[in-house]
């Protein structure tokens, strides 16, 4: 049948967005290299290499038909703004972030290429669960407490946050459940416990571990991903309601018991009451966003260093101050575009495992962005979560690129499947 649409017909030129990213990169990094009055070649080199890497990634993705190119392009733009901001904050931090970017990019390319090989083999739900538990126990045993959260493992000069990788394992875990719920069915005599309730117990154990480590942000993120995936893939409204109520009550109790959480809620409700103490961070963030007006104060003319943790959690406020609220909104829109591409990949997949994997990964990035931007703008209480691709942090960058690589691999498999189907039609 010749009435089937040929795939490459009438696509908007994907090179235009690429050129725009390159333009932004070059402009931002040139500006930055002149900021201190003297021309700093080093900064321009970073900018130039980023531009080269953007194009290189794009060419590799197109040449080897590795799927949707727009994922990497959107992330490239987000990274442009992110890297530029980090360099503006401090050359030291910015350079480290650039190194993480390079590592992340390689992880991205490697994952998108080799995932198809391991895809069908590793599906066992217990594999993922036990891996998560091992990482948790490892953190509890040899973990270090930084900023009140016992969430870092230090090996010599490198420290990383296992929770960033546990959240990816969790998505695999839920995907494994959704594609094969019967694997969790427990048989006691001739009665069997429904797999859903076993899942609930397992998930709450994981949440418990996060609370033990004081990683409330990631616990919340995991919980949201869990509820959304179960809602989308299974019809179980009572189950979801029960979970939500249980977790909600646990959270309320936790806020009453733990002073640490009480501080977070107080400074969310009225940070100006304790503007120099508990509310300092959030009020400074709000001041910064306000000072940015529409187009920003201009790169280098804001005062981001008044905000504690500005390179990690509050990077969004710094961007809003120097690039204006329009810059901040642009970042939000770009994450929404990422969400859209991710959901599109999810819709194009047939196999329930990869389908819910794509969904879970996309929704993790989306919720994470929502949680941190919401926290920083006093929409919701602040959680210690990072903004993917923008916040400074090795583990954050690497896990974000890992997620991107997995999504890219999955979109590649759709492309291969479609090509296969078209071949079958042509050969009829």
């Amino acid at each position: 049948m010749n009435s089937y649409l040929i795939k490459k017909e009438k696509q908007p030129n994907p090179m235009t967005p690429m050129h725009l990213v390159a333009l932004i990169d070059l402009s931002l990094f040139t500006l930055l290299s002149f900021r201190s009055g003297v021309f700093v070649m080093f900064i321009l080199m970073i900018g130039a290499s980023k531009v080269v890497l953007n194009y290189l990634t794009y060419i590799i993705l197109r040449k080897y038909k590795m799927g949707d190119t727009y994922l990497a392009i959107i992330v490239a733009m987000i990274l442009s703004l992110g890297l530029a901001m980090q360099l503006r904050l401090s050359t030291d931090v910015g350079f480290k972030q650039f190194i993480w970017y390079l590592t992340g990019l390689s992880i991205f390319l490697v994952t998108s290429s080799i995932f198809q090989l391991v895809n069908k083999r590793i599906r066992s739900i217990w594999f993922f669960y036990i891996l998560m538990i091992i990482l948790f126990i490892l953190t509890l045993l040899i973990g270090k407490s930084i900023n009140g959260a016992k969430n870092w493992i230090v090996l010599g000069k490198i420290s990383f946050q296992p929770s960033e990788f546990i959240k990816i394992l969790f998505v695999f875990f839920i995907a494994s459940f959704v594609s094969n719920p019967e694997a969790l069915r427990l048989k006691l005599g001739d009665r069997s416990a429904s797999p859903k309730w076993i899942l609930m117990i397992m998930v709450f154990i994981i949440l418990g571990f996060f609370v033990l480590q004081r990683e409330f942000g990631t616990a919340l993120l995991i919980f949201m991903v869990y509820l959304s995936t179960i809602y989308v893939f299974e019809k179980a409204i009572t189950f979801i309601a029960t979970n939500a109520i249980l977790a909600g009550s646990a959270a309320l109790i936790a806020v009453k018991i733990m002073p640490h959480l009480q501080v977070r809620v107080d400074s969310w409700l009225n940070p100006f009451a304790d503007i120099a103490g508990k509310g300092y961070q959030i009020t400074q963030s709000l001041f910064a966003i306000g000072s940015g007006s529409f187009f920003g104060t201009g790169i280098g003319f804001g005062y981001p260093h008044f905000i504690p943790n500005v390179e990690t959690d509050f990077i969004f406020s710094a961007i809003c101050e120097e690039m204006g609220i329009f810059g901040g909104i642009a970042i939000i829109i770009m994450f929404v575009l990422l969400l859209y591409r991710g959901i599109k990949i999810c819709l194009g997949l047939r196999d329930p495992f990869t389908k819910s994997l794509a969904f879970g990964l996309t929704i993790t990035v989306a919720f994470q962005t929502f949680l941190i931007i919401g926290g920083v703008t006093k929409l919701i209480p602040l959680t210690g979560i990072t903004l993917p691709f923008v916040s400074y942090g090795g583990s954050s960058m690497l896990s974000s690129f890992l997620i991107l690589g997995l999504l890219q691999a999955l979109s590649g498999s759709i492309l291969r499947e479609e090509a296969f189907e078209f071949e079958k039609i042509d050969n009829k």
């Binding site: 725009l20 931002l28 392009i73 187009f295 079958k424």
Partner: protein, 151 residues
């Protein structure tokens, strides 16, 4: 000097970022348009419509359309089937559709819960007519010759 340049370029930079967003958004539009065209080509050929199992009222919601491209199509729970449906009440290989000169025949492949055509249990291969309702497990599929666009 730096200050002047920054003041001037911040508007330009914002403009470029939004131009970028616009280009990507245009893609979304083209994507959605392409999907509707793809759907139209799917229904102009023989296909099976998967009915949503949520709506039990008169109007039937079509969740998905499976074009019938090959001469032999096996429907079942296993991922090896041409049409894989994750319904636990469907056998790994439940029914087989075969294209013959007069159209499509449907044959039950010895499934555990049986197959029902328009309410009647399928015992031997039957030729499918337009709007025949095939029930496997709790899933309902409607056969269509295609060629006409509904609505």
């Amino acid at each position: 000097m730096y200050e002047v340049i920054v003041m001037a370029t911040k508007y330009i930079l914002t403009f470029i970022i939004y131009l970028f967003i616009l280009k990507i958004a245009k893609l979304i539009y083209i994507d959605i348009k392409k999907m509707t065209v793809w759907e139209e080509t799917k229904v102009s050929n023989p296909h099976l419509k998967l009915l949503s199992s949520i709506e039990q009222t008169g109007t039937n919601t079509v969740t998905e359309i499976f074009p019938l491209k090959n001469t032999q199509i096996i429907i079942g729970r296993s991922l090896e089937c041409e049409i894989a449906i994750s319904d636990p009440h469907i056998s790994s290989q439940h029914v087989q559709l075969e294209r013959i000169s007069q159209g499509f025949t449907i044959k039950d492949l010895g499934s555990a819960n049986g197959t029902y055509i328009n309410g009647e249990r399928l015992s031997r291969p039957v030729l499918l007519k337009e709007d025949d309702e095939i029930s496997l497990g709790i899933t309902k599929l409607v056969f269509s010759e295609g060629g006409k666009l509904d609505e």
